[in-house]
């Protein structure tokens, strides 16, 4: 078990493994999204209250889930990189930040489009869930800006790791903001006491999209980490062999 973990920390080994695993993330991911989106848009019944407008949930909820999950992954790998000095962990954190920011923008845009017919407004300044989500986006921007302004990679890694860990305070605030303060945003529907408050016909496509989005995210993350690793190891022999040789790492 531990040998596997230690080998994973070696960039060439990780590069090979990730090439091997990527299709196993991407193909089922796209299939699940295709099925879930079709079911969600055409098959699932109308909501008794929101009618067809609720269907944006099939994009909004996976995006929101991944916006936060990416931050958690980034903070944990930043912590691992800082504590055990694992270089690959820093590469994961560096690769994850722009993906997280993209999901965060997708979450805010779809939420805003959903809010227009339901709450009668594109954006509500007083809503704690909306504010904490916006702060999450700004944290991503801060991290990306910080990484790009430090030229020494090792130093940038550590500085970004500290910032990522400090910003992780925001995650529980997002999660519980709807319970602590009453607001326009509804509280949790799927993970709550007494099981999901959603009809099975509506729920299954959502779960399929959640899993599908996560798998595609995994594939994108692996690809970005590969690029990051190639860049960081650009002076190493194995990268030179890979690029100039026959392409087999």
């Amino acid at each position: 078990m531990w040998t596997f973990f230690h080998k994973l920390g070696s960039p060439p080994h990780f590069y090979r493994l990730s090439l091997l695993f990527s299709p196993w993330f991407a193909i089922p991911g796209y299939l699940l999204i295709a099925w879930g989106t079709y079911q969600g848009l055409f098959v699932a019944p109308e909501d008794y209250q929101q009618r067809d407008a609720f269907r944006i949930i099939y994009v909004h909820v996976p995006a929101a889930y991944l916006a936060q999950m990416t931050y958690a992954i980034m903070a944990v790998s930043a912590g691992i990189g800082l504590i055990w000095r694992m270089k690959l962990a820093h590469a994961v954190a560096a690769a994850a930040a722009p993906i997280g920011a993209s999901f965060c923008i997708l979450m805010l845009v779809t939420g805003s489009i959903w809010g227009r017919p339901m709450w009668g407004t594109w954006w509500e300044w007083g809503d704690p869930r909306l504010m904490s989500a916006l702060i999450l986006l700004f944290l991503y921007f801060g991290l990306i800006a910080m990484r790009s302004s430090i030229t020494d990679t090792a130093k940038a890694d550590k500085a970004c790791a500290i910032l990522a860990l400090v910003g992780a305070v925001n995650l529980p605030i997002i999660r519980f903001s709807v319970d602590w303060w009453t607001s326009l945003h509804q509280s949790a529907t799927i993970i709550r006491k007494g099981g999901p408050a959603m009809d099975a016909e509506m729920l299954w496509p959502l779960l399929a999209n959640l899993l599908g989005f996560s798998l595609v995210f995994g594939a994108v993350l692996l690809r970005r980490i590969r690029t990051e690793v190639l860049y960081r190891e650009r002076r190493k022999r194995w990268v030179r062999d890979l690029v100039l040789g026959d392409g087999a790492p």
């Binding site: 504010m131 800006a145 910080m146 302004s149 130093k155 910032l163 400090v166 910003g167 305070v169 605030i173």
Partner: protein
């Protein structure tokens, strides 16, 4: 290992505060700049939105908080910069005293020199923006709690960006998301108090933020200082 007896923690903590305050006292310009900036920013709003008393009363709390936040941000840039440039930061890093304690000392000195003056002049805003005078203690209390948290959290950002080009812009970009909750709670507390409503909740949240920052920020600052000086 035996050697000359080291000064205790309290001595180390006290002497770094004394040193920083003395340095500032010798350059009063640095001391006054954030304060003057704060007053000038809060003068801009009545000029921009017009002198209508009702409008001023509505925006008073928010304006104070935005001005205080910006003025703290501007001054944070230099928190570790002069020490970095003249090499005394290296001495601090090498010192046998625990670095988080020294970082906390520098933060306390920063708050005394920047936050405290803002607390003192904040009643001026209450009066010029026609807020009811009962708000004065709430305003001073919330600004005191908020600026102290800003000094603590800001020290992390200042330590991370010390010695970088374009440090000031980056520092604001890093700190604003972390400072937003303070702005929300602080401005809300003051406007609730101005409307005669119960405001204890907001004060408690500000105090909670301060306690959390006090417990965690010095360690993050110390770690960031070590990274910036590798």
């Amino acid at each position: 290992m035996s050697g000359p007896a080291l000064p205790g923690l309290i001595d180390g903590f006290g002497s770094i505060i004394r040193r920083d305050l003395l340095l500032l006292w010798r350059r009063p310009g640095d001391l006054l700049n954030p304060l003057v900036f704060f007053i000038m920013v809060s003068t801009l709003f009545p000029l921009a939105v017009g002198p209508d008393a009702q409008v001023l009363r509505n925006i008073g709390a928010g304006v104070t908080w935005v001005a205080a936040l910006l003025s703290m941000l501007l001054s944070l840039n230099t928190l570790f910069l002069t020490d970095f440039e003249d090499g005394s930061l290296d001495q601090l890093l090498l010192s046998p005293q625990p670095l988080p304690l020294l970082a906390l000392g520098k933060t306390v000195a920063h708050w005394i020199s920047t936050g405290l003056p803002l607390v003192v002049v904040s009643p001026l805003i209450v009066m010029t923006y026609r807020l009811p005078s009962e708000v004065v203690p709430v305003m001073m209390g919330s600004v005191a709690l908020g600026t102290a948290s800003l000094s603590l959290v800001g020290a992390i950002g200042a330590a991370l960006t010390v010695g970088l080009h374009r440090g000031t812009t980056l520092l604001s970009l890093l700190l604003l998301p972390l400072a937003m909750p303070l702005l929300i709670f602080g401005a809300r507390t003051v406007s609730l108090a101005a409307g005669g409503e119960p405001y204890a909740g907001g004060m408690n949240l500000l105090a909670a933020y301060l306690v959390g920052a006090l417990a965690l920020a010095p360690f993050a600052t110390a770690a960031a200082l070590r990274i910036s000086n590798e």
